[in-house]
């Protein structure tokens, strides 16, 4: 009689499979299941109350959900583009520095070291209409004699959140793009100079294609971050006033943890995940195309 033995490859993979199942798969399946129930945190028995696709239908019909969805896409689009442009500029400038570049690179990373909660409190104070730095500065230099409601007016509040997001994360782009700039070979740039190319032509046709894969990696990472934006917005405006700055995760967080409607919150969460998946697929396709252009395989 031979004893049953697990295949060696499976036995070796088993610890990883168990860990992955415990920390990723089980919570994922449980939250997916609960999105089809009327699960409320305060009533654990409701976890077994199957209500089919009711939560999904409710989210699909909710104007508040779709306006938060749209606002999140808008924030994502604007923040990513501006951060990318500023990060690129910052990286190009730092790349030109020959003395003290290491110190500059470290300083550039400071905002990334702050907890998003702290960044939220910091910018909430900066944009406070009564005692905030911005209004006081504007009034002191005579640009304004009224208290500008930065965190109340819909567009100004969106702008304030955008500024906080950009302050906190532009350096992610700058660091990754700088790494890309270090990897650009010198030969083609020098050849271009000899051929009489302008600096813009060298940048546009040689440097940029080389750093595009790095830009797309940064875009993919940050798109996931912004699509999950919660902390900064929660502190600065909590999605308000009058839902003017409501983003997906402030809405979902409030529904799940304050209203205790975890089933409905999970349903909204699963719909929102498609947003993150969509952006990730888009940026990875772009990344592969950029790599293919450089002859690095597609």
């Amino acid at each position: 009689m031979t004893r049953f033995r697990l295949p060696a490859w499976f036995a070796l993979l088993l610890p990883a499979i168990i860990v992955l199942a415990a920390v990723v798969l089980i919570p994922l399946v449980l939250s997916l299941y609960s999105s089809f129930t009327s699960y409320r945190l305060t009533r654990p028995e409701t976890l077994y109350n199957w209500i089919g696709t009711f939560n999904y239908e409710k989210a699909a019909k909710s104007a508040h959900f779709w306006s938060a969805f749209g606002r999140t896409v808008l924030l994502l689009t604007i923040a990513l583009n501006l951060e990318m442009l500023l990060g690129l500029g910052l990286a190009l400038l730092v790349n030109q520095v020959t003395y003290g570049q290491r110190a500059l690179r470290t300083i550039m990373m400071f905002p990334m070291m702050f907890s998003p909660l702290l960044v939220g409190f910091q910018f909430k104070f900066i944009f406070n209409d009564n005692v905030g730095l911005v209004n006081n500065a504007l009034q002191s230099i005579g640009f304004s004699n009224v208290a500008i409601p930065w965190l109340v007016d819909g567009q100004l509040a969106f702008f304030s959140i955008l500024v906080a997001e950009m302050w906190s994360s532009t350096s992610v782009f700058a660091i990754l793009i700088l790494a890309g700039l270090f990897a650009v070979p010198r030969d083609p740039i020098e050849a271009a100079k000899v051929d009489g190319c302008t600096p813009w032509q060298s940048f546009r046709h040689i440097t940029l294609p080389y750093i595009m894969p790095f830009i797309y990696i940064a875009l993919a990472i940050r798109s996931l971050d912004v699509a999950r934006a919660y902390d900064i917005v929660q502190i600065m405006t909590n999605g308000g006033p009058a839902r003017r700055t409501e983003l997906l995760w402030t809405l979902i967080g409030r529904t799940g943890y304050v209203d205790a409607k975890m089933g409905y919150a999970n349903a909204m969460g699963y719909i929102s995940i498609f947003l993150a998946i969509g952006f990730t697929i888009f940026f990875f396709r772009k990344l592969n195309a950029a790599r293919a252009e450089l002859g690095m395989g597609g």
Binding site: L41, T42, R43, P44, N128, D129, N130, V131, Q139, N145, V146, A147, I148, P149, W150, L151, V152, T237, N238, G240, P241, A242, R243, R244, R254, Y257, V258, D259, A260, K261, M262
Partner: protein, 435 residues
């Protein structure tokens, strides 16, 4: 040996005298886990836990100390995960109804005489149905009117107000007069007539008490929304009119209690409806620019002749799953007994025991400001009423407040905002099977 017996006897006598039902060393070997509200102002009371431990032989292990909003999330997570091994929890009358299954009825563990020592309206607000789910502590909250005395003493103001309205300038007794004065005092952006909490449960609580003062209700008896009414519209127009007139800071829709407290203490707000905990802060030389210039009077009344009075209080509860309920009830009674309430109210908070009210009034006689404030709060407490006792109160506030904000900021008309809020609350109540 004899001295040990004597100590035990004295401890037992002392415990019975202060109102706890426990006997000395009755709970030897018992360990109670507790989740309590945290904050420097509560530490003096928690220091008394050591005395209770010495008398009863039990041990208390505080496993969580957070503010009520964080505790609320933690309790919900505990309910969801079934991690309910702890026995004693801080509670609040505005949150209690959300956890109908979490806390046990304390009535079987207390005598009627002990319960009768608390202010009846506070006991009523500590119940869910007939179950007494918490014992109230000396942290009772009702809002009265704080004002800057200087704006009323100013001769130019008095003349101008008389000329403008035909009335003498005096702190307001109606919300209509309050609004007129707030607009009159405003000199933006340096000085505002008033301010109000602008988001979350806070603005809905203020709206709720204003609806009541206007003769309406937030909910009917069957919990259908009742605020889309004439009284509701009058109440909301009070907030809208003040905002549209620029008589409140433009950021007021993002303000919560701390912002309001700091605002009034900065001396740039004339009238401020606020809680008792701020009295000392507002009149403190080191904490407030308004120190020495603060008056406190009874909160104004609405057009129905009813005064606002949304109130709340802190309390302590015992979990249904606790296997040492008698010991836990004894601890809760100890933390809210007469000595505990005297200790807590010496810091400025309001008691919930009748005898302690008398003590607080007597103790305040030497300090005119404190005496004025306590008298106002005692008068104010007679008009107090708790938040609607439904498990869906917080969820309802989350549906109502964005609509109130939309009306205040001019995104919607008052009619549309109240209609939308009412429709959303109605749908939520139906979805939850309330009716």
């Amino acid at each position: 040996m004899r001295s040990m017996k004597l100590t035990k006897l004295m401890s037992a006598t002392a415990l019975i005298a202060v109102g706890g039902p426990a006997l000395a060393a009755e709970f030897d070997g018992v360990t109670l886990q507790a989740k309590l509200i945290g904050g420097q102002q509560y530490e003096a009371l928690y220091a008394r836990i050591g005395e209770w431990e010495a008398m009863t032989g039990a041990k208390v292990e505080i496993i969580s100390k957070k503010n009520h909003f964080e505790l609320d999330k933690e309790f919900k997570s505990d309910l969801a995960a079934g991690t309910l091994g702890w026995c004693v929890g801080s509670n609040h009358s505005s949150f209690a109804a959300q956890y109908p299954s979490l806390y046990t009825d304390l009535t079987p563990y207390l005598t009627e005489d002990v319960i009768a020592e608390y202010v009846p309206s506070n006991v009523a607000a500590s119940k869910i149905g007939d179950a007494l789910v918490m014992l109230p502590r000396a942290q009772f909250d009702v809002s009265v009117l704080y004002y800057l005395k200087s704006v009323y003493e100013d001769a130019d103001n008095q003349t101008a107000y008389k000329a403008e309205t035909g009335r003498d300038l005096a702190p307001p007794d109606t919300w209509e007069e309050y609004k007129a004065q707030a607009i009159f005092f405003t000199d933006a952006p340096n000085f505002y007539g008033t301010q109000y909490a602008g988001k979350d449960e806070a603005i809905v609580g203020r709206f709720y008490e204003m609806v009541v003062a206007e003769g309406g209700q937030l909910f009917n008896d069957d919990w259908t929304p009742a605020f889309n009414s004439d009284a509701g519209k009058r109440a909301l127009s009070w907030f809208v009119d003040l905002y549209q007139a620029g008589a409140v800071p433009p950021g007021t829709t993002s303000y919560l209690w701390d912002d309001l407290g700091q605002g009034f203490a900065s001396g740039t707000i004339a009238l401020n409806l606020d809680w008792p905990g701020w009295a000392g802060f507002f009149n403190g030389e080191e904490t407030s620019k308004a120190a020495g210039n603060v008056g406190v009077i009874l909160q104004p009344q609405g057009s129905a002749g009813i005064r606002t009075g949304w109130s709340g209080h802190h309390g302590f509860s015992v979990t249904e799953s606790c296997d040492q309920k008698e010991a836990a009830a004894s601890l809760v009674a100890w933390l809210t007994n007469e000595d505990s309430q005297k200790l807590e109210s010496s810091g400025g908070s309001l008691p919930t025991r009748t005898a302690v009210w008398d003590h607080v009034l007597e103790a305040a006689k030497a300090d005119p400001f404190r005496a004025e404030a306590i008298a106002a709060f005692q008068a104010g407490s007679e008009h107090a009423f708790p938040a609607p006792q439904t498990p869906y109160w917080i969820e309802a506030t989350n549906l109502i407040y964005p609509e109130l904000q939309a009306a205040i900021l001019g995104d919607k008309t008052i009619d549309d905002a109240l209609s939308d809020a009412s429709e959303a609350v109605d749908e939520m109540m139906q979805e939850n099977g309330v009716y």
